[in-house]
């Protein structure tokens, strides 16, 4: 696949604080890249650098072979000349314009003639199922409807690149769920290249072709959602995505000692670094009051149940190992607080992350 | 915040009640209520004398004729005044025409006064009179000066006049002049265009004359000028040969009075010799023929006067004054000429 946009070593400082610290990112044609991270990680700043609202301090940004930002060579292409469009977190619809005027604005700026403009506006409004509302004003619409209009506005100009800045975070949970799938469908159908910023893992996994997990101004890991989830490269990525258990390990010759001897795994030493954290996802762990017929691959440890939480489809359980370490997993059968339980997981579910 | 605000909801009606109570105390039901235009010290002195002599309490309201009439108009449906004194006969005539005056037939002093000044129907009596003519700075005064001379432009840009909408005597003058001179509108418009200024009141016109902003006051009421002359100001009161306007100061009893006897007593008192003496001392022309005018004023002899017809004046007053205000007072001054 062709590289559509590429960032190399982008940095940005605000008042001496490094908000972007050497960002390298590649976006392929027709792909949706999600920038995922906690608030303050720099993802919105990166987006603003891509839009041109902010100028990078150093590094380069190129799109389809054209350099947009290269401070070292004094290049900064103005926002209005980049041909991108954007969906804002707060919708930012112009309150004095009707829905169709809002959507038509970008086309008007491109001097598209009125009949074609009207046709295109109707087309995108239908795409987001807002065709019936075209004469309303933004303040007569619900939050979800406003965001649909904002999406239509961004789609209307058939942009090279569509940028979405936490577009769903101002909506309530139910709406978010609906719109998320719709956005995914729209991006797929239109084949647009998109950069999507969010702090919500579910959103990221639904929409992304590639997820770039960001932390403290850096991209920690970039890859497909499956890779990111299953093969986290850093402790931060592991903790940020899903519920996990982390236990320190060290290598002892060819075997690995986990949590100072809770568990010895002979023969696995080659796979891991000298020392680090051993990760086991919550869903890999089964906490049960009965011993299971042991299999080769299965690790089973005695523990005491601390607490169970009913999640609807199953129970989450917390249990303490004899050394005091708290493990979270799913309960298998009835477990009771204070009761003796067994913590069980396949050895293949363990991932070793270097420090 | 404490106690005061805790009782606030209860306090609200209380405050209003308090205000009402205080205000209620103000009105003294038995007092004779006198509204008087004209020199305030004179009115106050006369009332003091009256109170001392009769023991009747008097509530007094002193203002200009316009203010008194405005107040009477405001209080039309809730009248308070018992006796009114105006600086203009037309005002009294207006009340008479509206049936708002009480007749006082044949008082015993009437023969001692200028009978021709009073209302033939006995609704009001003139306590005194003043003449409205011109006042000039001594150094600019010419003998034989007449209205026409001024209109011809002899004092161009140096003439002022009390606004008839503020000064009752100036209003009477304008009305009298309009009734006797047909060319008035053209004359005054011409004068205004060449720079006639209007003063808000007599006092303002006079101070303009004293400091030398103006050389001449048109429609100056004479007793105020005599007062300046008595104080040694270098000004002259001048009565033009073709006529001056006489402004009489009527006293009348309001129809709705609750104390007609006290009211009549007050009217009677105004025509006693000592009070008329006080009137004369203000340089007004007293109504009693046996009271000598002030020495500054001189004799009781009258200069030529405009014909006067108070009913005609009343009938045309509104129209004349309104027209004067709009056509003359608001006309543009064409300054380019000088």
């Amino acid at each position: 696949m062709a590289t559509f946009m590429q960032c190399k070593g982008l940095t940005k400082e605000f008042a001496g604080q490094r908000v972007l610290d050497g960002i390298d990112l590649k976006v392929n044609q027709g792909e949706c890249v999600v920038l995922l991270g906690p608030s303050g990680c720099g993802k919105s700043t990166l987006l603003n650098v891509i839009t041109g609202m902010l100028a990078a301090d150093s590094g380069t940004l190129a799109c389809r072979g054209r350099t947009l930002d290269d401070p070292a060579n004094g290049i900064h292409v103005a926002m209005r000349e980049r041909g991108f469009s954007m969906v804002f977190q707060d919708f930012s619809l112009w309150p004095h314009m009707t829905v169709s005027e809002n959507v038509a604005f970008g086309l008007r700026m491109q001097r598209v003639n009125a009949p074609r403009r009207a046709r295109r506006v109707q087309e995108v409004l239908d795409q987001v199922q807002m065709g019936a509302f075209r004469n309303r004003r933004p303040d007569q619409l619900s939050g979800g409807q406003q965001q649909r209009v904002a999406i239509a506005r961004a789609l209307a100009v058939q942009p090279d690149l569509m940028l979405l800045d936490e577009p769903l975070s101002a909506l309530d949970a139910r709406l978010r769920e609906d719109l998320k799938h719709e956005l995914a469908r729209l991006l797929r159908e239109t084949g647009l290249t998109a950069v999507y910023v969010t702090h919500d893992q579910a959103e990221a996994f639904t929409l992304a072709d590639q997820v770039a997990v960001m932390n403290r101004g850096r991209i920690e890991q970039c890859g497909t959602p499956e890779v990111i989830y299953n093969e986290p490269r850093t402790q931060f990525v592991a903790e940020f995505l899903g519920a996990s258990n982390l236990m320190p390990y060290r290598r002892n010759g060819s075997s690995i000692v986990i949590d100072d001897g809770v568990l010895d795994l002979p023969g696995n030493g080659a796979l891991a670094a000298e020392s680090g954290q051993c990760l086991v996802r919550r869903e890999a762990i089964c906490i049960s009051s009965e011993r299971c017929c042991s299999g080769d691959d299965l690790v089973e440890l005695p523990a005491t149940c601390e607490q169970t939480n009913f999640l609807g489809d199953r129970h989450e359980a917390f249990a303490t190992l004899p050394n005091g370490r708290l493990i979270r997993g799913f309960a298998d059968g009835a477990v009771h607080r204070g009761g003796a339980v067994h913590v069980r997981f396949p050895a293949s579910a363990m991932r070793f992350l270097s420090d | 915040m404490g106690l005061l605000s805790r009782t606030l909801p209860a306090l609200l009606p209380l405050v209003l009640g308090l205000v009402a109570g205080c205000v209620g105390d103000d009105g003294d039901g038995d007092a004779l209520v006198v509204y008087s235009a004209g020199p305030r010290p004179l009115a106050e002195a006369v009332i003091d004398d009256f109170v001392r002599e009769t023991g009747v309490t008097v509530e007094f309201f002193g203002a200009t004729t316009g203010q008194v009439m405005a107040r009477l108009e405001a209080e039309r449906y809730r009248p308070r005044a018992d006796v009114v004194i105006f600086a203009s006969e037309v005002a009294a005539e207006a009340l008479k025409a509206d049936d708002r005056l009480l007749r006082y037939p044949d008082p015993d002093w009437v023969d001692a006064t200028e009978a021709g000044w009073h209302d033939p129907d006995s609704y009001y009596y003139a306590t005194s009179a003043a003449l409205v003519g011109m006042a000039a700075r001594e150094d600019r005064h010419q003998d034989g000066l007449d209205w026409a001379t001024v209109f011809d432009g002899d004092f161009q840009g140096r003439v002022t006049m009390p606004s008839p909408s503020r000064s009752g005597s100036a209003a009477d003058f304008v009305v009298a002049y309009a009734l006797s001179e047909d060319a008035m509108w053209a004359d005054f418009l011409g004068l205004r265009r060449s720079g006639l200024d209007f003063a808000a009141a007599n006092s303002q016109a006079i101070s303009g004359l004293l400091v030398g902003t103006y050389d001449l006051i048109l429609g100056a009421v004479d007793y105020l000028i005599y007062r300046q002359i008595a104080d040694g100001a270098p000004v002259v009161m001048h009565y033009p040969p073709s006529g001056s306007a006489m402004v009489r100061r009527p006293i009348a009893i309001m129809a709705g009075t609750g104390a007609p006897d006290a009211a009549r007593a007050f009217v009677d008192f105004y025509f006693t010799e000592p009070v008329q003496r006080r009137v004369a001392d203000e340089h007004l022309l007293p109504a009693r023929r046996d009271t000598e005018p002030s020495s500054t004023r001189g004799t009781r002899e009258l200069p030529p006067l405009f014909q006067d017809d108070v009913e005609a004046a009343l009938a045309s007053q509104n129209r004349v004054l309104r027209r004067f205000q709009i056509e003359i007072e608001r006309a543009e001054v064409v300054r380019g000429d000088d």
């Binding site: 209005r80 930012s92 004095h96 970008g106 100009v157 | 103000d26 405001a74 039309r76 006092s203």
Partner: protein
């Protein structure tokens, strides 16, 4: 059943009754009398006659047209002055914005009639302008004492509203709306045309209507400057119809009703426009400032400074100088404080006027704040048709021109059925101040209450506090800052209130404003200006003391 209803509704009914008696009743009498001139005398004769007379008197329709045109001109000039100021303050990197803002506040705080009097001192023949530049060109003097000169003085007194409204709106418009436009390819011109200006329109129109209304109903400038410029304007005409001979109450009430109608049209017009133009409330956005450059900064300051010079420096210098100069005759000016001593001499009319104003203003501000705070509280915490009626009536005094309110009060309290003699006492003026200015206090309290939320009160109620206790223990303390501000504003505006005072004061009693007005009219200009200086100093001192105490 009825008793239960009444008990529950008692505060609302009490407030309604209060406002109805204080404001609704006089206005009703006014309108009734304008239609039936003799209605107070118990007769329905002469239906509509006063209005017919307006039409039939040729100069009256012309005068009304002039008034509307003049108010319109004031609005346009205020826009021309105010919009650039607002833009400079909100969106550029103009240095010294604090000072620029202050320079806008000074003319707003200056009573327009004092500015007008000072301008007369500057522009009249032999005035300051003649003295300073040795003879003002005659065309300039003629221009000043004409429609446009009077417009200028009024616009200088009111452009600050426009500037502050524009600044506030620009400040609260999220930058994102412009960024979004840029992102979609809009340049500076397109951004202005399609985004910024349309978004600014509601503020521009609203502040314009405020200025229009203020100009249309202002009494001081038309009375002071209009009469000297042969410019008959509605409020001054109403005043003369009521105070000068021959008085014509029927005509005055019908003209007042018309003025009222214009005011109401303005208000509803502004609401309608606001709805039409959209424009909701925004969360304040962060804004990048437009760099001005060296010349831009110079030009910006020249504009703001020039306006400050015209609107504040010139009138204030004229005012203070006039009050201090002993004699203008000599070649060299000599200064004296004797006009001030004359003002403060025990028993003098000036001192009396000052004391009357102080007493009235203190009382009026206190009553306004207490009653207004309570009404606002009841209003915010009630619902239903009665509350909407209350809302409507409470709005009235804000919109109704003061002169109309004063005329209405005269009529209402001289009706034959009124049991107390309020007219021609100082109490009448106190009532008028409270009626006219209670909406200010109401608004302050309202705004603060709406932010407050009801839960605090519910919490107190659940712990057993009664209605009165909740109000005094929970609501009042929380309202304190708003009420203090309201008190201060009311006190200051009462200290300088002209039109109600001049119409309602019994003769022989003055307030500072009527004293200034009357002394000036009678040619005692130095004394008038000394009083003006003292009044403005006094309100400034009160203002500063309060500000300092609030900070400290």
């Amino acid at each position: 059943m009825l008793m239960v209803y009444l008990r529950a509704r008692l505060p609302l009914l009490l407030c309604l009754l209060l406002l109805a008696v204080a404001a609704g009743y006089p206005l009703a009498v006014l309108f009734a009398q304008s239609v039936f001139p003799d209605i107070l005398g118990g007769s329905l004769d002469g239906f509509g006659e006063a209005y017919r007379r307006i039409l039939e008197t040729p100069e009256l329709p012309a005068m009304i047209r002039t008034s509307l045109a003049w108010a319109g001109a004031v609005t346009v000039v205020s826009w021309v002055f105010g919009i650039p100021c607002g833009y400079l303050l909100a969106r550029t990197d103009l240095p010294g914005k604090l000072w620029a803002r202050l320079s806008l506040l000074v003319p707003i705080m200056t009573p327009p009639y004092i500015a007008a009097l000072s301008y007369i001192l500057v522009m009249q023949e032999g005035g300051f302008a003649d003295g300073l530049i040795g003879g003002l060109p005659e065309w300039l003097r003629l221009w000043f004492f004409s429609f446009w000169g009077v417009t200028l003085v009024m616009a200088l007194a009111s452009f600050g509203y426009v500037a502050l409204a524009v600044e506030a709106t620009l400040g609260s418009l999220p930058r994102r709306l412009e960024d979004a436009a840029t992102l979609f390819g809009a340049g500076w011109v397109q951004r202005m045309r399609y985004v910024l200006l349309p978004l600014l329109l509601p503020a521009v129109f609203n502040s314009g209507l405020l200025v229009f209304l203020e100009a249309l109903s202002n009494f001081g400038v038309p009375a002071v400057l209009g009469t000297r410029s042969n410019l008959p304007l509605l409020p001054a005409e109403i005043f003369y119809l009521i105070t000068s001979w021959p008085a014509d109450f029927a005509l005055a009430t019908s003209l007042s009703s018309l003025l009222c109608l214009f005011a109401l049209v303005c208000m509803y017009g502004s609401r309608w426009l606001a709805r039409l133009l959209g424009g909701g409330a925004f969360r304040p956005g962060e804004g990048a400032l437009q760099p001005l450059g060296r010349w831009g900064k110079w030009a910006g300051w020249a504009f703001i400074g020039g306006l400050f010079l015209l609107s504040s420096v010139l009138p204030y210098v004229a005012m203070v100088l006039t009050s201090l100069v002993d004699s203008w005759a000599e070649a060299e000016l000599t200064f004296t404080l004797r006009h001030y001593w004359a003002l403060f001499e025990p028993g003098s009319r000036g001192l009396q006027a000052l004391l009357t104003s102080l007493g009235l203003s203190l009382a009026a501000a206190t009553i306004c704040v207490l009653v207004g705070g309570y009404i606002a509280y009841v209003n915010v915490r009630s619902a239903g048709p009665l509350q909407r009626v209350l809302d409507g009536i409470a709005l009235l005094p804000r919109v109704i021109p003061k002169i109309v309110m004063a005329v209405a009060l005269i009529l209402a309290w001289n009706a034959p059925w009124v049991p107390v003699d309020l007219y021609n006492t100082v109490w009448m003026l106190l009532l008028a101040y409270v009626v006219i200015y209670i909406t200010d206090a109401l608004n302050y309290a309202n705004a603060s209450l709406q932010r407050m939320g009801e839960n605090l009160e519910h919490a107190a109620s659940m712990l057993g506090a009664g209605r009165a206790t909740v109000f005094t223990r929970i609501v009042l303390p929380r309202l304190r800052p708003a009420l203090l501000a309201a008190w201060l504003t009311t006190f200051i505006v009462c200290m300088r209130e002209l039109v109600a005072s001049i119409l309602l004061l019994p003769p022989g009693v003055d307030t500072t404003a009527t004293f200034i007005f009357n002394q000036f009219e009678q040619g005692e200009i130095a004394i008038a200006m000394a009083m003006a200086t003292v009044t403005i100093l006094l309100s400034t001192v009160v203002l500063v003391v309060f500000q300092l105490r609030r900070r400290g």
